[in-house]
């Protein structure tokens, strides 16, 4: 999209009623519930969907959803934000290495859940750092997302070559010890991450809005997912994480997300407030 079309995202204005009714429609037809999502970012996503498809009225949006002109996978791909990159926030990864890794080392095997893993860049970042710390062999990483198209990309581990320069820079800043290109094979405009990195990854569709916990983890990573949720849904999801983390296990959130003021505020210990690294307290109830 050019800048001009991107600007129109702010232009096409769905009223509150239109937005609510689109949410209801998708819920009843496709059983996907966006009602707990933040209104304003969701409005921008719907505007974007309308621009891409050249619709100028809410009627056209409604028509396409109702008549199956727009497959549910397309709706999910466009409405959910799938932006992610490798080693995003160098400080976060550095902090994870110093606070989380020593804890993981104490286990013969451990499980990490990446909730809302999108196209998987973050999981590969973890794999690389864990490999260098000698932890990869003991790990199992579970990647879940609402969007199955994104999961397919994560599973393949194929990314655009042009992204690699900035990832390599981030990787070095995180204290990487090898040339970053040792971790992928490049061909034409794409790279494939080494299978060594993805061997211990498991992917599955999971909807944080209404699915429950499916295992117990030593660590849950959920970065830049909660920013799309309203207070109620954020609380629900944080409770779900609490129930999924073993005693003294870790919770890693995104830079602008916090457990402050939520139902789990007193259930976690703050390990690193800046980098949003939390640790589950032992409950004596």
């Amino acid at each position: 999209m050019t800048n001009n079309t991107l600007h129109r995202i702010e232009n096409v204005f769905l009223s509150n009623e239109d937005l609510s009714s689109a949410i209801d429609l998708i819920k009843s037809l496709h059983d996907v519930d966006f009602s707990g999502y933040g209104k304003e970012s969701l409005r921008r996503r719907f505007n974007r969907l309308m621009i891409i498809n050249n619709w100028s009225t809410y009627y056209e949006l409604k028509f396409s959803i109702t008549n199956g002109k727009l497959p549910v996978t397309d709706i999910l791909s466009e409405i959910t934000v799938n932006m992610t990159s490798m080693f995003r926030d160098v400080n976060f990864y550095k902090a994870a290495k110093t606070s989380l890794f020593p804890y993981l080392e104490t286990f013969p095997s451990f499980k990490i859940w990446h909730a809302g893993c999108s196209t998987g860049e973050e999981m590969y970042s973890f794999s690389i750092l864990m490999e260098e710390a000698g932890l990869l062999k003991k790990s199992t990483q579970y990647g879940t997302d609402l969007n199955q198209e994104a999961l397919k990309v994560a599973k393949k581990g194929v990314y655009q070559l042009k992204e690699m320069a900035s990832y390599a820079k981030n990787y070095m800043e995180c204290g990487g010890v090898k040339p970053f290109s040792d971790y992928y094979v490049a061909k034409y405009n794409a790279v494939k991450m080494l299978s060594l990195l993805s061997k211990r990854m498991v992917f599955s569709q999971h909807n944080l809005v209404n699915n429950s916990s499916f295992n117990e983890f030593e660590c849950v990573v959920c970065r830049n997912v909660l920013i799309y949720f309203n207070k109620e849904l954020k609380n629900r999801v944080l409770k779900l994480f609490y129930d999924s983390i073993c005693p003294r296990g870790f919770l890693l959130l995104g830079g602008a997300e916090s457990i402050k003021g939520t139902v789990v505020e007193n259930l976690f210990e703050v390990i690193d407030g800046n980098n949003k690294i939390y640790r589950k307290k032992i409950s004596y109830e």
Binding site: N3, L6, E40, S41, R44, G255
Partner: protein
């Protein structure tokens, strides 16, 4: 009359902000929001630098923080900053616009939609045209736009682009006049009410 003052800029705007912030007084009873282009990755000390130079509380926005009076909010690096109907900030990590996240246009447009004539949008030095379109929407919704005088701005592209798109902008000001003008706009509105 409580107003929301959105101050934006890019390259060259930091020095200006450090001149503007110390002059802000609690008595103004406004909410202040700063959306500037800044580098991600680096552990930013910007919140502390601003806090050291301002008598008001300075707070880098966390998702769903509620907008309060007499507080200076700083948009976090690498997120678009939006505001919802409950007066809570929403952060958005979708596509960059004009290579920028936070995008000044995105914030200006959603703020204009919500605060209408209660919004004052201040655009400072910068090296691209982000903010020009936002200024247009602020004016359309009845808000006021102040642009740093291009002669004085370290990079004049941002103020110039805004003026090119919106020749009707009344306030083209040097730094030292910006705070006073904000006060003046506040007072005129009090009188008309």
């Amino acid at each position: 009359m409580n107003k929301v003052i959105l101050i934006s800029g890019s390259s060259g705007s930091l020095a200006v902000l450090l001149k503007l912030l110390p002059e802000i007084k609690v008595s103004s009873n406004n909410s202040w929001v700063i959306v500037i282009h800044r580098k991600r990755y680096l552990d930013s000390k910007l919140e502390r630098i601003f806090a050291d130079n301002c008598t008001l509380k300075v707070s880098e926005v966390m998702h769903l923080d509620k907008m309060e009076l007499n507080t200076v909010y700083l948009a976090p690096a690498d997120y678009h900053l939006l505001i919802n109907e409950k007066n809570e900030f929403e952060l958005d990590f979708s596509e960059k616009i004009m290579f920028s996240r936070p995008s000044i246009d995105v914030s200006a447009i959603t703020f204009a939609e919500k605060f209408k004539d209660k919004l004052i949008f201040v655009l400072l030095s910068g090296g691209n045209s982000d903010g020009a379109y936002g200024a247009k929407r602020v004016l359309e919704k009845g808000g006021e736009v102040i642009v740093q005088s291009p002669n004085e701005a370290k990079l004049a592209i941002m103020p110039n682009e805004a003026l090119k798109l919106n020749p009707e902008i009344k306030y083209i000001l040097p730094i030292e006049k910006i705070n006073n003008t904000i006060k003046k706009i506040n007072n005129t509105i009090k009188k008309t009410l």
